[in-house]
C-alpha cells in the first residue's frame, strides 16, 4: 500500500467515476423526473404570437379551447415534422401597388398564383389572385412582416404581376381562449400543441410544453389493477425464497467445506446456476411443470396420476408460485453459497477443532460457532439477495405468462413495453428502489439492535 498523497489514484478512478455519474446518477435523476414531473402538463400561452413574448397564462393539457385568431410565425426547421403542426407559406414580393409605386413586402402564398418556377421548383414569378365574393375587398395587402397583424405597406390590384424574391415557411399560431381551474385564460400558442376540431373554431390542448410536479403517475400506478397483486406476490415470493435459499446455501457451503473427493467437480456443479439467466431458468422449470413436462411424465410413469394435471394455469396459482419459488431457489442459491463459503474459509479450523474436542456435536457447532461467526457474510448475502429478489422478472413471465402471477419488475416491463407508459414505469422502478432500500435499512437496523443486545 502506498500512503503517499498524490493524484495518481484519482486519475485511475476517474473513468469509473465519470461513467457512474453518466450512466447511474443521471438516469436516477431522470427517473425521479419521469415519475414525478409531467413534462406536458401545461401549455404556455404567450402575450403575443412569438415564443419570445412573455408568458401570459398556462392552460392545462386536454382543456377545451376556442380559437380567436391566427397568425403565422417563423418556425425552426427541427419542429417541422411534429404532429398537428400547421404551416403556411409567405412570399417576399416585389410589385407595383395601386399608386404605381414599387413595394417590397410580405404576402401570403394563398394570395399569389405562382406562374413561373425556377428549375429547382422555387417560385420566382406570379400574379395576385382575384378575391371572390361580392363584398370582398378587391385589393390585396402587402405587409411589412410575414403576418397579417403587421403594418400594411401597400395594396395590390388583382392580377398584378409580382416578382417572388424569397419564401418563408411559417407555423400558424393561434390566439385561444380557455379555462385553467375555472379562471378564464387567453393567449397565443403554436399550432403543434393544439388539436383543432372540424368546425375550425374549437379544439383542445393536445400536449403541454411546460412541466409541473405531479403525483398522477404514482396514482395511476397504485390504481392499476395489477398493482396490489404484484405487491402481494412479490412479498410472498420474497418470504418463500429467502429462508429456503439460506438453509440450502449453508448446507451446500458445508458440503464444499467438507472437501470431499470430487470437491472441484461438486463446486462446478454447484456454481452452474450462478451463470444461468433467469429467462433460461424460467424455461427450465416451465419444461418441468408444463402439461406434458417432466413432472407429469414422471408421476404418470410411476403411477401416481392417471392423466396429466395442469400446474401452470390460472386455476392453479399456488402451483405457479411453487414453480417460481423452486426456480428461484435453484437459480440464486449458488451466489449465497459462494458468499457463505468465503465466510466459512475465514473461520479458523482451530476453533472448530476445539469445539469438537469439548464434545460439541455437528448441530451445536453449527448453532453456536459457525452461524454466529458467519453473521457478517450472511448479512451481506441477505441484503444482496433481497434486493435481487425484487428483480425476478423473466422467471415469472416464463412460468405464468405474466398475468396470472405478476411481480413488480414485471409490471414495470408491462407499463413500459406493452402500455408504452414510461412515466408509470418509472414510478414502478422507483417503488422497487424504495422498497429494496427500505428492506436493506430494516435489516441493518435489526442486526445492529441484535448486536447491541448481545453486547450488554
Amino acid at each position: 500500500m502506498q500512503t503517499k498523497r498524490n493524484w495518481v489514484p484519482y486519475l485511475l478512478i476517474l473513468p469509473t467515476f465519470i461513467y457512474l455519474i453518466l450512466f447511474f446518477a443521471y438516469p436516477m435523476v431522470r427517473g425521479l423526473n419521469l415519475a414525478f414531473f409531467d413534462d406536458e402538463a401545461n401549455l404556455a400561452l404567450h402575450a403575443e404570437a412569438s415564443s419570445d413574448a412573455a408568458i401570459a397564462d398556462l392552460i392545462p393539457q386536454s382543456a377545451s379551447i376556442e380559437i380567436l385568431g391566427r397568425q403565422g410565425n417563423l418556425v425552426a426547421e427541427e419542429v417541422l415534422d411534429e404532429n398537428n403542426l400547421l404551416t403556411e407559406i409567405w412570399f417576399t414580393i416585389e410589385a407595383p401597388d395601386v399608386d404605381g409605386n414599387t413595394v417590397t413586402g410580405w404576402a401570403s402564398e394563398s394570395r399569389i398564383r405562382v406562374r413561373e418556377e425556377a428549375e429547382d421548383g422555387t417560385p420566382i414569378m406570379g400574379t395576385v389572385r382575384r378575391r371572390l365574393g361580392s363584398n370582398a375587398d378587391p385589393l390585396t395587402s402587402v405587409y411589412a412582416e410575414p403576418n397579417e397583424n403587421s403594418d400594411v405597406i401597400g395594396q395590390l390590384e388583382a392580377r398584378t404581376e409580382v416578382q417572388i424574391v424569397e419564401l418563408a415557411t411559417l407555423e400558424v399560431w393561434f390566439l385561444l381562449k380557455g379555462e385553467n381551474n375555472g379562471t378564464p385564460v387567453e393567449g397565443w400558442a403554436p399550432s403543434r400543441y393544439i388539436q383543432i376540431f372540424d368546425d375550425e373554431i374549437t379544439g383542445r390542448v393536445d400536449r403541454g410544453n411546460s412541466g409541473e410536479f405531479t403525483t398522477k403517475f404514482v396514482e395511476k400506478m397504485v390504481n392499476d389493477r395489477f398493482f396490489w397483486p404484484a405487491m402481494r406476490y412479490t412479498a410472498i415470493l420474497l418470504l418463500l425464497i429467502i429462508p429456503t435459499q439460506f438453509v440450502l446455501a449453508i448446507v451446500m457451503a458445508l458440503v464444499i467445506q467438507a472437501q470431499l473427493r470430487f470437491n472441484s467437480f461438486i463446486l462446478y456443479i454447484f456454481a452452474i446456476p450462478l451463470g444461468v439467466s433467469d429467462l433460461a431458468v424460467g424455461i427450465l422449470w416451465f419444461a418441468i411443470f408444463t402439461q406434458n413436462g417432466l413432472l407429469n411424465s414422471f408421476l404418470q410413469t410411476v403411477g401416481f396420476i392417471e392423466s396429466p394435471s395442469s400446474w401452470l394455469t390460472a386455476d392453479s396459482r399456488n402451483w405457479i408460485l411453487v414453480a417460481i419459488w423452486l426456480a428461484e431457489v435453484w437459480r440464486a442459491t449458488s451466489i449465497v453459497m459462494v458468499i457463505v463459503v468465503s465466510g466459512l474459509q475465514a473461520i479458523s479450523s482451530e476453533v472448530l477443532e476445539a469445539a469438537e474436542v469439548f464434545g460439541a456435536n455437528m448441530w451445536q457447532r453449527l448453532r453456536y460457532i459457525i452461524l454466529p461467526l458467519l453473521r457478517p457474510s450472511l448479512q451481506v448475502a441477505l441484503i444482496l439477495r433481497t434486493i435481487l429478489a425484487f428483480q425476478v422478472f423473466a422467471v415469472v413471465i416464463a412460468l405464468s405468462g405474466g398475468d396470472v402471477v405478476t411481480v413488480l419488475a414485471n409490471e414495470t416491463y408491462r407499463q413500459y413495453f406493452d402500455l408504452r407508459n414510461s412515466n408509470v414505469a418509472a414510478a414502478y422502478a422507483l417503488l422497487i428502489l424504495v422498497i429494496s432500500m427500505f428492506t436493506a435499512v430494516i435489516y441493518l437496523r435489526a442486526i445492529r439492535t441484535q448486536e447491541e443486545a448481545s453486547a450488554t
Binding site: 478512478i13 461513467y19 462446478y268 416451465f286 411424465s297 428483480q391 423473466a394
Partner: protein, 291 residues
C-alpha cells in the same frame, strides 16, 4: 491412520477413538449422499432441458415422455430453434453486446481496481462505498430512464447503447473483483522489481500483470456471462436489434415448446462452459466483493 501410530494407549481410549472414527466415516458418507442429492437437484433439470433441446419435435410434444435416458437423440429441435426468425441475429447481437461490455468494463474498471487496492487516498472509502451501493441497485430501476434518455438522444435500439447500459451494470462488480485480484498480489513484489531497476510501469507490466492476468480473465468471463444473461434492460432497450434473451422472451408467448426448450438450453450453454473455468476464482471474486 491405524491404531499402531498411537502406541501404549489404554484400550478404552482406543475404543473411543474407534467410535469417533466410525462416526466420522458415517458423517462423511452422509455428506457424500447430501452432495449427490444437491448435484441431482441442479443437474436433473439441466439434463431434462438438454434432452428436450436435442430430440425430435414429436418427442417434445409426446406424453408421457418416460424416464430421461430413453429420449431419442436428434438435432431436430435445436436446428429448428436456430433457424427461427431473429435467432441468428440475436446470437450475433448478444455476443457483440457481451464483448463490448467486457472490453469496456475491464478497461474502465482495471485502473480503479488497482487504485483501490494499492493506494490509500482521501475519498477511497467513499468511492468504495458508492461502488458497493451501485452494485446493489436493481437493473429495473435504471433501465427505464436510460431507455427514455437514449430515445431522446436518438441512440435507441442499438447494440452500442445496450452495451453502455450493461457496462453500467457490470462495472461496479468488475471494479471490486479486479481490486481483490490486485490485493492478492503483494505490493512488495512491485517494490522489489523497482529496487532492481524497473520503472514503476515496467514493474507493473513484467511482474504484476502476468500474475493478475488469470484473475482479470476470470472477471472478464463473468462480465461476459452477466451481459449474455441480462434480459430486462435488453428487452427494454432494443426493438429491432434484439439480443438473444430479449428475442426468446419476446417470442415466448407464441412459440412452440420445441422452440422454448431449445432456446432455454442454448441460453444455458455459456454458463455450462465458463463456470468450469472460473469456478476456482468465484470465492476470490465474490468473497472480496461481499466484504
Amino acid at each position: 491412520m491405524s491404531s499402531e501410530t498411537i502406541p501404549q494407549v489404554a484400550p478404552e481410549v482406543l475404543a473411543v477413538h474407534e467410535q469417533m472414527k466410525r462416526r466420522q466415516r458415517i458423517r462423511r458418507g452422509l455428506t457424500y449422499v447430501l452432495a449427490s442429492l444437491i448435484c441431482l437437484w441442479i443437474t436433473v433439470p439441466i439434463f431434462f432441458i438438454f434432452s428436450m433441446a436435442f430430440t425430435t419435435q414429436e418427442t417434445v410434444r409426446s406424453y408421457p415422455k418416460g424416464f430421461l435416458p430413453f429420449i431419442p437423440f436428434s438435432t431436430e429441435t435445436m436446428t429448428f430453434f436456430l433457424n427461427s426468425d431473429g435467432i441468428f441475429e440475436g446470437v450475433i447481437n448478444s455476443i457483440t453486446v457481451a464483448v463490448i461490455t467486457l472490453v469496456l468494463s475491464t478497461i474502465i474498471a482495471a485502473p480503479a481496481g488497482y487504485a483501490i487496492s494499492r493506494y490509500i487516498f482521501p475519498g477511497r472509502n467513499f468511492f468504495r462505498l458508492s461502488i458497493l451501493a451501485v452494485r446493489a441497485f436493481p437493473i429495473v430501476v435504471l433501465s427505464i430512464p436510460m431507455a427514455v434518455m437514449f430515445i431522446q438522444l436518438g441512440f435507441f435500439d442499438s447494440v452500442y447503447s445496450l452495451s453502455l447500459m450493461h457496462t453500467a451494470l457490470t462495472l461496479p462488480t468488475t471494479v471490486l473483483v479486479i481490486a481483490s485480484v490486485f490485493a492478492s498480489i503483494p505490493y512488495e513484489l512491485e517494490e522489489a522489481a523497482q529496487v532492481f531497476g524497473c520503472t514503476p510501469f515496467q514493474a507493473f507490466r513484467t511482474v504484476v500483470l502476468p500474475l493478475v492476468m488469470p484473475g482479470i480473465a476470470a472477471s472478464a468471463i463473468f462480465t461476459f456471462v452477466m451481459s449474455w444473461n441480462e434480459v430486462f434492460a435488453a428487452s427494454i432497450l432494443t426493438i429491432q436489434n434484439r439480443t438473444l434473451p430479449a428475442q426468446v422472451l419476446f417470442a415466448l408467448g407464441n412459440s412452440s415448446e420445441a422452440y422454448q426448450f431449445a432456446g432455454g438450453f442454448f441460453l444455458l450453454i455459456p454458463s455450462l462452459i465458463f463456470m468450469f473455468f472460473i469456478r476456482k476464482y468465484l470465492f476470490n471474486m465474490w468473497g472480496q466483493v461481499s466484504k
